[in-house]
Subunit: 95 residues, 5 copies
């Protein structure tokens, strides 16, 4: 999994029928020091994450292993809202 | 999922039998500011997207989770036409 | 899917038993303007592609969705021979 | 699989229900000479790895092939603690 | 699939139970001209490859499609020992 910050939302009214009801979030990818890498991903939301929150997202077939994304054409999902992480004993982020 | 602009179409008359009937789109990948990254992908079309439209595409096994691509040797699919997205409260694209 | 040109073939007599009978092609990856990117992939052939032909290849689990590659340890397959594609109304390749 | 050093842990109290009980490790990716590459990944722990240990991790659907991660939205797992590896006859790491 | 040279072996005594019996090889990735790219991967061995041999390896879920790796948390497998390949009519490697 990788870290991301919820930067905003995306709206798509014309889509594959199986996607109806899914909320799409635009994530800015974060490195381990909590700075943006410049990469992004659009992910389905499985946990009710809000703009500005730091989240963990999964990609590939693992992104379909939630109640919301099961058997849907979705390759990225926000599956956790991060409270804190540390590297080398130093806290790099705290919600 | 990532963002792309439909740049054109691709025709392949000799192909794996399971691919018959699929429409192939050439997508220019977009970054979060709606500018082209220089990368491309050829994706199957599951939503009737037209040239010039901004779309969302899924890759890997998730690309087979549509009516059109189920159990086909296809690793990228256009599964939504984008209306709008925003980043940090600013709208970056509006159809 | 991505575009490639069949650059040559690969022979491997000692291999996983499930791979017997598969033909391996060395592909030079192409960008959307039909120039080589410098990357390559070795792919199984599902369509009888010949050296010099421009093809479309799929990777990951989707590479196993052909008659030839089903349940085999193969992560890339040539699944179509390209006739033509266009970008922005301009034909970039014609067989 | 790739090599990583366990740099720390990550806590996420609000998450997809199927993730409850999983321990998340922050891994610094290592190259073959046992130096950090600058990349990281957050992986589930399937072997009880501790901070500072050198581990092997698997990604994608293979990350769900452990007792802890089966059918969970998890795309990276620590599945082995490394004792030693060698390259060209030289030992590059010994626990 | 990609090409690699078996650079050495890796030992991990503490690992996920399903991995017991698997042999791990450290592969240096090769480009199409048979020179090292600087990237590596640790792969399970499904064909009895020895140090110094040039091999073909598969990644992702396809890496689990061998007798040795079925349903194991393994995302890379050596599935063939290469005899020869050619590019543009020139042999680039011969065992």
């Amino acid at each position: 999994m990788l870290l991301g910050r919820v930067a905003g939302t995306l709206v798509a009214s014309r889509k594959e029928p199986r996607l109806s009801g899914l909320k799409f979030l635009v994530l800015q990818q974060l490195d381990v020091d909590n700075t943006e890498t410049g990469s992004y991903v659009v992910a389905a939301d499985a946990v009710g994450a809000g703009v500005g929150e730091v989240v963990l997202y999964a990609t590939g077939s693992s992104a379909r292993q939630t109640e919301f994304t099961h058997e849907r054409p979705c390759d990225a999902v926000v599956m956790a809202i991060v409270d804190t992480w540390e590297v080398g004993g130093d806290e790099r982020y705290h919600k």
